[in-house]
């Protein structure tokens, strides 16, 4: 099992390094979002420096959605799912592998984004950076766990690109609420244990749901 996950992880990472698809679509998109954020905040005389956490999660939500959709489309084009389904493996394991790959990509993206946010918002991350990691990683994991499922669901519809955010984003609201709270506390130097506990529970539920239902999604 760890073999399979590592295999798919390295495959997805290598493909990403070659094509830079997710990087281009997610990271650069986030940069533009940050610019819009600045002008939206200052023109309504909101203290821009108070919003780094908001900006971070808006970037994760938007660019994560784009990235998930993009990677899935690439897989579809190369008929990778057909090949995966033929693999003599439990589809639940395939889900975990796919989830691991997606989560790694989005986590790397957000870690690249953090210094930029620190720079733009005059944020002194310093020692708080480590405190942010659990909330950030768990939040992204939950976001991606649901996304790995919903992206397959929406890909089978006629309007997959429109439908994906519509069915994905409402489902991840609990994750986003808890994640936002965790990182906000972390930026102030505290650790929100309640938030982390909730995120752990949510991840557990999402992952087991995915583990059990992925087989039904891949059927033909």
């Amino acid at each position: 099992m760890p073999n399979l996950i590592l295999l798919m992880l390295s495959k997805d990472l290598r493909r990403e390094l070659r094509s830079k698809e997710v990087f281009l679509s997610s990271f650069l998109f986030s940069l533009i979002l940050l610019c819009i954020f600045y002008y939206a905040a200052t023109s309504s005389s909101v203290a821009f420096e108070k919003l780094p956490n908001t900006a971070l999660w808006i970037c994760i939500a938007f660019s994560g959605t784009i990235g998930l959709h993009r990677t899935h489309q690439a897989e579809l084009q190369n008929a990778c799912y057909k090949a995966l389904m033929m693999a003599p493996r439990d589809p639940g394991l395939l889900f975990l592998a796919k989830f691991a790959a997606n989560a790694t990509l989005l986590t790397i993206m957000s870690l690249l984004l953090l210094p930029l946010i620190a720079l733009f918002f005059n944020l002194d991350l310093g020692s708080n950076l480590l405190k942010m990691i659990p909330g950030l990683v768990l939040g992204i994991a939950g976001f991606v766990a649901i996304g790995t499922l919903t992206v397959v669901i929406s890909a089978n519809t006629r309007i997959s690109d429109i439908l994906f955010p519509i069915i994905h984003l409402p489902l991840v609201v609990p994750v986003l609420i808890a994640g936002v709270n965790c990182t906000q506390k972390a930026m102030l130097g505290e650790i929100s244990w309640t938030g982390i506990q909730i995120l752990c529970v949510l991840n557990l539920v999402f992952l087991s749901l995915g583990f059990m239902t992925y087989a039904y999604l891949l059927e033909e």
């Binding site: 919903t150 669901i153 519809t157 069915i167 409402p170 489902l171 609201v173 709270n181 309640t194 938030g195």
Partner: protein, 235 residues
């Protein structure tokens, strides 16, 4: 459609209308007006009356979706879908009456109060569930994917509900008056509330039955179409 199901249908309809009528009279006439909120508080009876079958509807979606994935019988898919649709309608009623109650009570139409927020998210989740079906052509695929989405969506409902409450402490509560629930003291208020709950539960059952029958008719129609196509090809 079928004559056999006509009698219980009619009984259910009559019962629904009668209960709804009594609930209306109790809520608008017999129950005393709230001391603080005045007559606006009467919205609350039917507001709560809507949300209860809404929750029931979504949990039924979960149940029927699981049954579908186990049995692969299309009837469970139709039941789940009909339930989701009715739940969405009830949720819409809650979302519309909520702000109408909030305006005179809190002074604003919308506040990011946990109850309103969670209902909105729930509404969005099930809007996606109901919408998605229109965009999948293959019947088996549609049934399977909706079942999975129904399971994910319905199991998310409690989390939406709790997560909005856990983190609410961070916001100042916009409640000007006391909580609505604390307002119910008079026994007639309790009766009005119970009657409204009963009326909307019956209404849910009635609408869900009708919706299922409609979906059954739809399935029959597409089956006939297929048969006709086959006949035409033979000819």
């Amino acid at each position: 459609m079928k004559t056999g199901s006509l009698l219980p249908q009619t009984i259910l309809l009559v019962l629904t209308i009668a209960t709804m009528e009594t609930a209306l009279i109790w809520a608008l006439q017999i129950a005393p007006a709230d001391k603080l909120q005045g007559d606006v508080q009467r919205i609350f009876y039917f507001h709560l009356g809507c949300i209860w079958p809404g929750f029931v509807a979504f949990f039924y979606v979960l149940y029927a979706s699981i049954r579908y994935l186990i049995s692969r019988a299309s009837k469970w898919d139709r039941r789940a879908f009909a339930s989701g649709q009715v739940g969405l309608a009830f949720c819409t009623m809650v979302l519309v009456t909520g702000p109408i109650w909030a305006k005179p009570t809190w002074g604003v139409w919308w506040a990011w109060d946990a109850r309103l927020t969670s209902t909105l998210i729930m509404w969005l989740i099930f809007l996606g569930y109901v919408m998605m079906r229109d965009y999948i052509d293959d019947q088996k695929m549609r049934e399977r994917l909706s079942a999975v989405l129904g399971i994910i969506g319905a199991s998310m409902v409690p989390f939406v509900y709790f997560s909005t409450r856990w983190f609410e402490v961070q916001h100042p509560k916009p409640v000007v008056m006391g909580d609505a629930e604390s307002g119910i003291k008079d026994p007639n208020m309790v009766i009005a509330l119970l009657l409204a709950l009963a009326a909307f539960t019956l209404l849910y059952l009635f609408l869900w039955r009708r919706g299922t029958e409609l979906a059954e008719g739809d399935a029959k129609l597409s089956e006939l179409r297929m048969r006709m196509n086959a006949l035409e090809e033979e000819a």
